[in-house]
């Protein structure tokens, strides 16, 4: 109960720490903003090639720029949800600070959640930039309920965070060589429909390879968000991706927490918690 009461203060402590570390590298911050603008501008010009040529069966792709920008913004966020938990552990291990953090009366799950909080804030900012630059400089229009889109974003991020917990468990025991990272990192951009409709995979690569996209939570999260923001769908029209995501959550949450508990116990037994 006491830990729960102190959780916001601890999260704030990690956010303040990471903010200070972040601003100690100011140049990097400005260069990232410039690179987002460069990507959005490049996509704008590529989208002009497809103007008027989009296949009508791909309703989300009538304005490819809007679709790519939502894809990139959301993928950015999903990847953070997935990778930041393991990264936070690895970074503390490599810096050598994990031991001193774990010496405070704070448990490991809190350390992981709190130390990835800044990543989410940072990603929120840069994901927003994709949409903001698209809207302000290139006239991209978004419609539908932002609240509903946010709900999809949060739900998918939580599902990916479960995979992130599995990834953090791997980082704790094996230190490197996390299979979830390889599968989701490489797979999401290719199979989730970030840059092209997933239906094309089935058409050109056959149903077996095409169905891989259905196994990824990112596909359903992205589909739901685009249905809301680009097609303007209401809650009743997006129940299918919503229930699929809930299904992922029901299976992955208890499983990932169980695996994580075992990984922590193993690392403490081996005395390898701070090794990398």
């Amino acid at each position: 109960m006491n830990s729960l009461r102190l959780l916001p203060r601890r999260i704030l402590a990690f956010v303040a720490r990471d903010f200070r570390l972040f601003v100690s590298y100011r140049m990097q911050f400005f260069l990232r903003i410039v690179s987002v603008l460069a990507v959005v501008t490049t996509l704008f010009f590529i989208s002009k090639i497809f103007a008027g040529f989009t296949d009508p069966q791909f309703s989300q792709w009538r304005d490819p720029l809007a679709t790519w920008l939502t894809g990139l913004a959301v993928l950015n966020y999903f990847m953070t949800g997935f990778s930041s938990l393991a990264n936070s552990i690895r970074q503390e291990q490599m810096q050598g600070t994990l031991e001193s953090v774990l010496l405070t009366p704070i448990n490991l799950p809190t350390v992981i959640v709190a130390s990835s909080a800044w990543d989410f804030l940072e990603t929120t900012f840069f994901s927003f930039l994709y949409l903001f630059f698209g809207r302000v400089f290139f006239g991209v229009q978004y419609r539908g309920s932002f609240f509903l889109a946010l709900m999809f974003l949060i739900l998918t991020t939580v599902v990916l965070a479960c995979l992130g917990i599995l990834s953090a468990s791997f980082a704790m025991v094996f230190k490197r060589g996390d299979p979830f990272g390889i599968f989701l990192g490489a797979g999401s951009a290719l199979f989730s429909g970030v840059f092209f409709p997933t239906q094309l995979l089935k058409t050109y690569a056959g149903p077996k390879l095409g169905n891989i996209s259905l196994l990824l939570p990112t596909t359903h999260g992205l589909d739901g968000i685009r249905q809301v923001l680009i097609e303007g769908h209401q809650f009743s029209q997006v129940t299918q991706p919503l229930f699929i995501l809930l299904g992922f959550l029901i299976v992955l949450l208890p499983f990932s927490l169980w695996v994580f508990g075992r990984a922590v116990r193993r690392a403490k037994r081996e005395g390898s918690l701070i090794q990398y």
Binding site: N2, L6, Q95, G96, T97, N107, G271, I274
Partner: protein, 311 residues
């Protein structure tokens, strides 16, 4: 009446070989498990400065880390002020502060003050109280002028003092100090020892588990000392009694006014010293200086190491 601050009972730790079964399955050579601690038992009383000495790899760090809940024991129990280090690890961490000589345990791009503020927040200390506490600790450890310097810019000695300040942040009743004076200059080291003494004498007193390779320092600071060798506690007693275990004899050097120097070895309880002084006085010599050479903790440690080497 004193009460027990740290209780260690039948503690053993064997570091398992990671993925041993997998290695065996693939017929890869597997290393033997490392037995770091063997059946260690002792208690540290509240307000006691307890020394732990031994060679590198003797098991001091493993023992300290188990007390600090960072490593789980294989068998046996450790309790800190009544809290079990495995089942009540969070409560144990509320009771302890650990200072190691490890420089990488801080954020190098943050200032000394920002580092401590971060750790204070993790301890749940409110910002205003944390800032005041940090200010007091900086004054106590003579770090005031370095508060706004980045950690990476501090000297090794100052980094070490900051590690001690961090251990004391939440005013824990138990301090685990791993070579706290290793990189300090002689004056700073003496001031650190004074501060450690005062912590054990304050009200309520702090309990200190102290490891060091500076045996003279251990002798002057610690009420009791444990000698650890190859994962086993070989002896626990006061520094004086440990020295006496090695040898009850001492060498006496007497200088008289004529410039003559007399040296002899005597047993602590015999009357040879009285007799020699009487003889010199009868001869009309004036005694200018008397020096005695007694066994040190180094002699004790060497004795146990030699015994272990013989098997």
């Amino acid at each position: 009446m004193t009460d027990v601050a740290i209780s260690i009972q039948n503690l053993s730790k064997t570091y398992p070989v990671p993925f041993k079964r997998l290695r065996t399955f693939f017929r890869r050579p597997a290393k033997e498990p490392v037995e770091a601690l063997r059946n260690v038992s002792f208690e540290v009383q509240t307000g006691e400065i307890f020394g732990l000495i031994g060679r590198n790899g003797a098991g001091k760090t493993t023992l300290t880390k188990i007390v600090a809940t960072l490593v789980q024991p294989t068998t046996g129990t450790v309790s800190v002020r009544g809290h079990d280090s495995v089942n009540q690890d969070e409560q144990v961490r509320r009771q302890i502060g650990l200072a190691t000589a490890e420089e990488r345990s801080f954020y190098w791009r943050l200032t000394a003050e920002q580092n401590l503020l971060f750790f204070a927040r993790l301890h749940g200390i409110a910002d205003r109280a944390a800032k005041q506490r940090i200010k007091n600790l900086f004054a106590k450890l003579e770090l005031e002028e370095l508060a706004r310097r980045r950690f990476g810019e501090l000297s090794t000695g100052n980094k070490q003092r900051l590690a001690v300040a961090r251990a004391m942040l939440a005013s824990p009743p138990v301090l685990l100090l791993d070579e706290p004076t290793r990189s300090l200059d002689p004056l700073a080291a003496e001031r650190m020892r004074d501060m450690i003494r005062s912590l054990a004498q304050q009200d309520p007193p702090a309990t200190i588990l102290f490891t060091s390779h500076n045996l003279a320092e251990v002798e002057t600071l610690c009420a009791r000392v444990a000698i650890i060798s190859r994962g086993e506690i070989r002896a626990i007693d006061t520094p004086k009694n440990l020295r006496d275990l090695t040898s009850g004899s001492e060498t006496v050097h007497i200088t008289v006014s004529s410039g003559e120097k007399i040296s002899f070895t005597r047993e602590r309880n015999d009357d040879r010293l009285d007799e020699t002084i009487r003889q010199l006085q009868n001869k009309g010599d004036r005694i200018v200086d008397i020096e005695t050479e007694r066994p040190t903790l180094l002699d004790v440690l060497e004795r146990y190491e030699a015994a272990d080497s013989r098997g």
